[in-house]
Symmetry: C2
Subunit: 340 residues, 2 copies
């Protein structure tokens, strides 16, 4: 059973993935190149994966068979286990609980295509719908407080050796530190100004235009003012809404359009760099911890896209500061100029 | 002038390094291999570097000439500039100030040796003394609140192309988020328990021994309970002390011994992996912000060593959670067994 352990100084949780545990010799090798053999994520190879949890599939075709468009499977090497209870406990001065959670893989296309940017707007819309289906389903599990949807594209971003477009969904029994900090920050701003900080960001960026990459159909893509990474981008809905999974489904094709354009700009302009994206949305409104219930409304969901062009080094680990060698204004100007 | 910009949601500062600014084309290349030509950090090549700030040098030999043991120079491509005023100001809803600070390189040996682990205990003692000299000198500058000493070893850790053992010193006008969080966490624990949390960690680790790597001469090296990274290690003094630069200098040879042994274990046991280390010490006791003045005493300086064997991916960026595939107990057992 994996364990969730809390850093006693910082209150930061880590997952100690005991069953994935690598041996010291496993780290002596470098990158081993792409996976060999058949791709388990291609249509027709469904027998190579665990049983599917969910799929967008043509009517009349069977589970775990072909003729699907998007397919969700449990991770073969999950960070967290779906079965069991949390069993929160102490180990001396330390806090620990069982690594309960869900870890799912969203296979984004039946074809062997590596980058989501190369899928159609229609296909990306189906992927976004799939995220929402899964989040809403996982919300029913009373043990979970938060679901993170994220993507690792390319080896340096933590992407695996299978080069088939996919994203991951992790359901967590605790609110992650980073999301808590965003909620607290948004709440603090709201308490003072009686306005949403993300709405204010959207307004200022639309007015100044210097960090604006795209402005279409209710969504903006910007390079954030305090970018951590060169060509970092955020996609925000213009309309205030804390909950991605409760957003108006009619808007998903527009979001798919923006996501495709933004990721195509990265691919074309920067030679298909490794990147991560994460969807930041409000935690589930569970009765406990009640505090988050009241401040969820001050939040504003968004997607953060992080190209992995620089390396995080001692300074960043030691301070929580980041050094960004490309001013976001220059990055936005460059990205606006890339056709997508 | 570089800029310090604050993320309006998280309160996290970033450095927008305008003058280092890279162009989009600079990111299209991958690793370019080691630097070509003469190593500017070797003895006899002092004319290839900026003028030195400080050196440990045999008596009677001149500044910027040979016969030195440790040499400190300003960075040729500094993240922050030493000249000027902070000029804190608003840009609409955003906070911004000039990127004032110091960025120095500590050349750790006159010989062309890549890893500090391969230097003698005596040489490492001189390096530690140099850190202290520089921190105490930078403290005199009223604009600075914090000095971080850190090392990037190897390309994947953010190390540069010059393979000559060096570390870096950055003086900052603000307390970094990460250090603030540690101070607040240590203070909260002290308020509740009337004990230092780091002292309690040392006690529990010495009693249980399962995460203990070394215990010699007043210092322990442990794999932390909530390790973020495989084979992550912390070195802590057993005696409570918040300020590395004010520690008893008679103990520096012991610290050098522990640091050399721990880094040798990494090098030998894991095939010279890339790593970062950072020295975490209390901020300067400046009259402002006064809050930190009172809680500095609850802190306990330590060194964090982070081998870079895994990649930080979307999940970590999105949550602040970390996934560690090697339980720290297994890591400690392995490291104890490596001769150093």
């Amino acid at each position: 059973m994996p364990e969730l352990r809390k850093d006693p100084v910082l209150g930061r949780w880590v997952i100690i993935a005991k069953e994935r545990a690598k041996r010291p010799n496993d780290f002596k090798k470098g990158y081993e190149g792409p996976a060999e053999g058949e791709c388990p994520f291609c249509e027709g190879k469904e027998h190579l994966t665990p049983h599917e949890i969910y799929a967008v599939r043509s009517a009349g075709y069977k589970k775990d068979g072909p003729r699907w468009e998007v397919r969700v499977i449990p991770s073969k090497a999950p960070f967290l286990k779906i079965e069991g209870e949390l069993d929160r406990r102490a180990d001396g001065i330390y806090d620990i609980m069982n690594g309960i959670g869900a870890h799912e893989i969203v296979i984004e296309t039946p074809e062997h295509i590596a980058n989501i940017a190369d899928l159609s707007q229609d296909q990306i819309t189906k992927i976004l719908q799939t995220y929402i289906e899964r989040i809403n389903d996982l919300e029913k599990d009373k043990r979970f407080n938060y679901v993170l949807v994220f993507k690792n594209h390319g080896w340096l971003s933590g992407g695996g050796r299978v080069k088939h477009s996919k994203s991951q969904i992790i359901a967590l029994p605790v609110n992650p530190k980073r999301v808590k900090e965003e909620l607290v920050g948004a709440n603090r701003y709201f308490e003072y100004h009686e306005r949403c900080i993300f709405c204010d960001i959207v307004k200022q960026e639309l007015a100044s235009k210097e960090r604006l990459v795209l402005d279409i159909d209710g969504f903006v893509a910007i390079t954030p003012f305090a970018s951590r990474f060169p060509f970092e981008m955020w996609i925000l809905p213009k309309e205030h809404n804390c909950d991605f999974a409760k957003c108006n489904k009619d808007n998903l094709p527009h979001l798919a359009d923006v996501l495709k354009k933004v990721l195509t700009k990265l691919k074309v302009g920067l030679n298909d760099p490794p990147y991560n994206f994460v969807i930041h949305t409000a935690p589930f409104k569970k009765p406990k911890p009640g505090y988050w219930k009241t401040i969820n409304e001050d939040y504003h969901w968004h997607i953060e896209i992080i190209p992995r062009l620089t390396k995080v080094a001692g300074f960043e680990w030691g301070t929580g500061f980041y050094i960004c060698p490309v001013p976001p204004e220059n990055a936005a100007e460059f990205l606006r100029g890339v056709k997508a």
